[in-house]
């Protein structure tokens, strides 16, 4: 098969229409297997398409009559000069003959002197006349149109074009003056200064361009004003250069980028170039990122990027931070800019958190200033093609505790290697979700009992409110089995955070009597007043009917709230009954031998029973 070098030559011949059909086939065969040559072919075809953009002559604008007249004038002028030259030659020849025909030496001398004088005078006269046309020998002419079939064309020297029509000859009608680049430059400079020196116009975008167009006028509309403005970026007048930069920001494009980037090197023009690059939108962002590396441009560039609060701006700032100096102030400046960009900067912050050059806690602190971190973080870690170190994400989960990260943690809990770490982080997640996850894991048998208790205890320690909330949810759902299992964990974990939940379970009628007793007694073991108050309130409200449960509640109330709590619970009872119950409670709590716990409970229950019957009797008599 042909080499790529030869194929590329064939491609050039083919796009030129010069490749024989037979060779086209071999070229195509190579192209089938060679992507590089196919690209080259496409580029050449694209070049052909670009050639179509080249302007064609406006033949309808041709004024043949005027052209003919101009040509004839030039020809006539040339003929006139030629005749003058011929006359001058003729005069010189005549004098020469006159001098040679003199008779005597004296006459000859005198005539010679006269001739010399006349020649001198004639030379002076010819010197002040326009130089006549000369025809040089062919060999001395510049490269000519020489072919075997053609004679050389005489090139006339000293024939400037555009000379004035001599008096008496036909005059060529005056043509309209063409627009010169200098004229356009002047108009452009004025329009730029008038437009962009005005602070109002400098900030109004589309209206600014309307004003500029009005100043320029339609006469120069077809001129490449953007390209001409690029050259003005180098003008010594900083105000003009800045105005040109602003114009390019509004009307320039990809082609202006290089000039605007170069303009960043001029301190007096750089701020305008930064503004212009920002105005170019996505096109200019990369260049703004470049400006971030310059200490003198960093501030304005950051300010502009902050106004484009998207992921692209954040990426540029992040990249500049990684490239830049390990200066705490600079790091803080960039991180602050990222916080101003908002949650769109989270992917960038995640990248920065992995960099050694940037303190991780500073990055996490920047993230903490953002809204909706959990949701964005969860979305980011779920993107398949973006991998973050697990340790980093665990750290973020611990820091933010966002419930949106629970699905990610669940996946880690499924992994044997990462389960312990995931269980640690689980406690940091807010809400009841972690409890549900744990329950699910327990049900699947994925956790050993010690693991389960340890994790459950951690959840209770981290957030007591969720334990109570979970109990409320369970009771509302009427799930007795789950409630029973929950109770077991609450009692086993022996955490103060479980107390309120235990109290709620104790006073509900979802569990069995015995379960409720254990719940009530567990509240007393934990000794938290708030939980005991729940029991006392339920007791006082008459929500409890089973004597053992009531006894258990009173024991816990007494342990946690003391005499005052008991009085609160027994508020509707006669004082004598209350004292009897109180004495029984004192006995029960001062002799807490496990084997007598049930006995004490029985005694309290019996006293309570008597007290309750007595209360009811009094109530019945009083009703009479």
């Amino acid at each position: 098969m042909k080499s790529c070098r030869l194929t590329k030559q064939d491609i050039l011949r083919a796009v030129d229409g010069e490749l024989p059909v037979g060779e086209v086939l071999s070229m195509d065969a190579h192209l089938e297997d060679c992507a590089s040559c196919r690209s080259y072919r496409d580029e050449q075809l694209s070049l052909n398409e670009l050639l179509e953009l080249l302007p064609e002559p406006a033949l309808d604008r041709l004024d043949a009559k005027a052209a003919m007249a101009s040509i004839q004038d030039s020809i006539d002028e040339h003929v006139g000069r030629g005749q003058q030259a011929l006359s001058a030659q003729t005069e010189r020849a005549a004098w020469d003959r006159a001098l040679r025909s003199s008779v005597s030496k004296r006459w000859a001398m005198g005539l010679a002197l006269l001739a010399a004088s006349l020649l001198f005078a004639f030379g002076a006269w010819t010197w002040i006349q326009p130089e006549p046309l000369k025809s040089l020998p062919v060999a001395e002419l510049r490269p000519l149109l020489l072919t075997p079939n053609e004679a050389p064309v005489e090139i006339a020297l000293g024939q400037p074009s555009g000379e004035q029509t001599p008096a008496g000859m036909l005059e060529v009608p005056a043509e309209p003056q063409p627009i010169t680049p200098a004229e356009v430059q002047v108009a452009l400079r004025q329009a730029l200064l008038q437009t962009f020196s005005n602070p109002h116009h400098a900030t109004f975008g589309e209206h600014t361009l309307e004003f500029f167009d009005e100043r320029m006028g339609s006469r120069y509309a077809s001129w490449p004003l953007a390209t001409m403005s690029e050259s003005l970026l180098r003008d010594s007048d900083a105000q003009l250069a800045g105005a040109a930069a602003r114009y390019l920001g509004l009307r320039g494009g990809r082609l202006s980028l290089a000039s605007l980037k170069a303009g960043l090197q001029r301190p007096e023009v750089a701020p305008a170039c930064v503004q212009a690059l920002a105005d170019l939108g996505p096109l200019g962002l990369d260049a703004l990122g470049y400006a971030l590396g310059d200490a003198s441009l960093r501030g304005p560039a950051l300010a502009r990027l902050e106004q484009v609060p998207d992921a692209n701006s954040a990426e540029l700032i992040g990249a500049a931070l990684l490239r830049g100096p390990r200066d705490p102030l600079v790091i803080a400046l960039f991180l602050n800019a990222l916080t101003l960009i908002g949650s769109n900067s989270i992917p960038t912050l995640l990248t920065l958190a992995q960099a050694e050059s940037v303190p991780r806690m500073q990055v996490i602190g920047a993230m903490a200033a953002l809204d909706d971190v959990g949701r964005v973080l969860a979305r980011q870690v779920s993107v398949q093609d973006v991998a973050y170190p697990d340790e980093l994400i665990f750290e973020l989960v611990d820091f933010f505790g966002s419930a949106e990260m629970l699905p990610w943690l669940e996946r880690k809990l499924d992994s044997y290697e990462q389960r312990q770490r995931a269980l640690q982080s689980l406690a940091g997640i807010s809400g009841v979700g972690p409890l549900v996850v744990l329950a699910d894991l327990a049900q699947k048998g994925s956790l050993s009992e010690p693991e389960l208790l340890q994790a459950f205890g951690a959840l209770a320690r981290a957030n007591a409110g969720r334990m109570q909330q979970h109990a409320e949810n369970m009771l509302a759902a009427g799930d007795a089995l789950a409630a029973s299992q929950y109770l077991s964990l609450l009692i086993s974990c022996d955490e103060p955070g479980a107390a309120n939940a235990l109290a709620l379970l104790a006073v509900s009628d979802l569990l069995t009597g015995e379960e409720r007793q254990w719940a009530a007694l567990a509240v007393g073991e934990l000794g938290l007043p708030e939980a005991a108050s729940i029991l006392a309130a339920a007791f006082a409200a008459g929500e409890l009917s089973e004597r053992r449960l009531m006894a258990a509640c009173l024991i816990s109330v007494f342990r946690s709230l003391g005499e005052e709590g008991v009085h609160e619970a027994l508020g509707s009872y006669p004082l004598g009954a209350v004292n009897a119950v109180f004495d029984a409670l004192v006995d029960a709590t001062t002799d807490p031998k496990p084997q007598e716990g049930a006995v004490q409970l029985f005694r309290i229950a019996r006293v309570l029973n008597l007290a309750t019957n007595g209360r009811n009797s009094n109530l019945g008599q009083s009703s009479l």
Binding site: E49, L51, A67, I71, I75, H78, R142, L145, T147, S161
Partner: protein, 197 residues
């Protein structure tokens, strides 16, 4: 490639034209005017393709006919009158290029000051900017390459005609056009579209 609208005239001198030439060679102004009227648009088009400017092209075309009138007596009719005129206008264009100063070598062709650094498909660069880019790129070609390239691609001449107009051999003309394409390709690469994914 652009096909010249004057293809039909690029043949040997017709009888009528021969008569006009003979009369013009004898000093007949009207006959010469007839020749100008017949060929002016064609020569103007060639001049425009070479100079890319209407006013300069008119100037050059008129200059061409002035020169042609002076050298009319040397025209023998063995090549077409159009080819002979074209030869003159190419020569004059060459003089103008040289009068503007040194042209860069093909390897120096650099329009990066106009082109962006980042490549992108042509549709993302405006058509107007592309047009200016293309014009500038052709303008920056070395003179001899530019002339051959313009005559071949914009005038639509055969290599024999390019050779006759520019005074080089056909093989040289082919090489010049190829070099010009390579130079343009290198300079405009960021803006050339690739069709393969």
């Amino acid at each position: 490639m652009h096909e010249s609208p004057w293809n039909e005239r690029r043949t040997q001198v017709s009888e009528r034209e021969q008569e006009l030439i003979l009369r013009a060679q004898g000093g007949d102004r009207v006959a010469f005017e007839g020749l100008v009227q017949t060929h002016y648009a064609s020569i103007f088009a060639t001049a425009f393709h070479l100079l890319s400017n209407h006013e300069d092209a008119e100037d050059l075309a008129q200059d061409c006919f002035v020169r042609a009138q002076r050298g009319l007596s040397y025209f023998r009719g063995e090549a077409s009158f159009t080819a002979w005129l074209r030869r003159i206008v190419v020569h004059l264009a060459h003089d103008r290029f040289r009068a503007r100063g040194r042209r860069p070598a093909a390897s120096d062709l650099d329009i990066e000051s106009l082109a962006g650094k980042r490549p992108g498909p042509p549709e993302k660069t405006g058509a107007r900017e592309l047009k200016l880019l293309m014009m500038r790129a052709v303008e920056l070609l070395p003179d001899h390459l530019r002339i051959a390239f313009v005559l071949r691609t914009q005038e639509g001449l055969s290599y024999a005609e390019v050779s006759a107009a520019s005074g080089v051999t056909e093989a040289t003309a082919r090489t010049q056009v190829m070099k010009a394409r390579k130079a343009l390709h290198a300079a405009l690469l960021p803006h050339l579209e690739r069709r393969d994914a």
